[in-house]
Symmetry: C2
């Protein structure tokens, strides 16, 4: 029988995927010894380019094609993927336009994006009709980190099931834990046909912080160790923990390295745990 | 005891609200004899201005401040409100930026917008911190019209409850039926303190069509009569039913008038129904 997903290295796991964005992401993580996704919620392109990463294009005041060109150059130069945390949440026909068109043309430059499973499977069909041909990957929001969130229980179970129906495009989940283990495939006969096969989804976890407990609008934080070691998350998403202390670039670099190290050590500890 | 909401005219109901966007919307509906919300999913500003309404700014290729200025002029000239169907779906801190900033600066021109209750009450707190001071109104997506949608049962009940906690800003729901009647207030003692008071929420219903049953990506349609008369909806949202037959402006006008009439007749029939 194969090793459990949480006991496989990121490098080993890249072979579990056919989706090119997922494979490349896992290879980069392995090579750079980093499971940190830096989430930048600032509102000008210059600030973003200074920090060399980006998220949330829809809050940028001076978005332009020039910005995207420069961002893609930096993505090649520094070997990272671009994840646009767009949180699509509309019906299939509408997300086709939102993903491919408008001022942002997300599909043309974001290797990975995400969507709420809320509208039903049509949202995945719509996004896949745009992104699959160019090797893009999609994460489904199966859970969120905010207080009073409604994505739980049967909602999360439905999200996992939807992802299973479209494995070539859905590469994982935004979640607080290994939701695919929590909600195993219902079709046991199908699963047991290949007992050695282990299902692999990327778990990306928001709400990770080392110094704070929450904000005034319901965001809640956990440590990298809690996310990666205790809950089996693969990638920690950190925003304000890194850039929230002002414009001092050296301080941001220090914080980014601090989080990279905490996330990576939690991953190494996890690999060393004896399989149950 | 007051008349049930579905037996009150839109004009009468405008007095049930403190929110200026809701009051103005109901007054306009009464004056113009229309409960039709025209939803335009096209991708250039010129097309939109030609049809004199707008939605989904994030799919527009040539969005500009000039466009917004012209749209607002048309809104004054033709006496309609602008509803940006943005479907916010992120945590409070992020939606603050998405609503107020970026290229679109939605709060500065959209009288009404909408949000998924999914992230929890923080999303309402965040949006209200931007929109309340300038008299904006928010609709919560309590249900959707697409196949396999997860917004149902306890999810919908939680959406209604969240709306009740912020009545000055949340003016109603995107829903297929009168969800506030389906999920009455849990605090009966509080409700019975004023037995004559009737809770008023605007119900706006998508997926309304006279000629079609659905699309290839899960959208499902019902008639204006089914939405307004049978399910108690207040406003029908019609998109492709009106502009989906090509660029012929006369044909669009004909279809818009056809839907306006169907929606208004269903409303008049509803008013004449004897209260149960």
């Amino acid at each position: 029988m194969s090793k459990r997903i949480t006991q496989q290295t990121y490098g080993e796991r890249s072979k579990n995927y056919t989706n090119p964005a997922a494979r490349r992401l896992l290879e980069i993580m392995d090579r750079k010894k980093s499971n940190l996704c830096l989430s930048i919620d600032v509102t000008t392109t210059e600030k973003i380019l200074n920090i060399v990463d980006a998220t949330h294009v829809d809050i940028i005041e001076d978005f332009s094609e020039e910005f995207i060109t420069r961002l893609r150059q930096l993505s090649d130069k520094y070997d990272f993927l671009i994840f646009e945390d767009r949180k699509f949440a509309d019906i299939g026909n509408t997300v086709v336009h939102q993903y491919s068109r408008g001022i942002h043309k997300i599909a043309s430059w974001a290797h990975i994006t995400n969507a709420h499973p809320l509208p039903g499977p049509g949202i995945i069909t719509g996004l896949a009709s745009v992104g699959l041909a160019s090797g893009r990957g999609l994460l489904l929001l199966a859970e969120m980190s905010s207080a009073g969130c409604l994505a739980k229980g049967s909602y999360t179970a439905a999200a996992v099931q939807m992802a299973r129906e479209k494995r070539d495009f859905v590469i994982g989940f935004i979640a607080m834990q290994r939701v695919e283990t929590l909600y195993p495939p219902m079709d046991v006969a199908k699963a047991s046909a290949d007992p050695g096969a282990v299902e692999d989804f990327l778990i990306m976890t928001p709400g990770v912080g080392l110094d704070v407990a929450g904000d005034a609008m319901g965001q809640q934080y956990r440590t990298p160790h809690a996310a990666v070691y205790e809950s089996g998350s693969d990638i920690i998403i950190v925003g304000r923990g890194i850039y929230g202390k002002g414009d001092d670039v050296e301080e941001m670099k220090r914080q980014a390295e601090r989080y990279r190290q905490a996330g990576w050590e939690a991953y190494l500890s996890r690999l060393q745990t004896i399989a149950q």
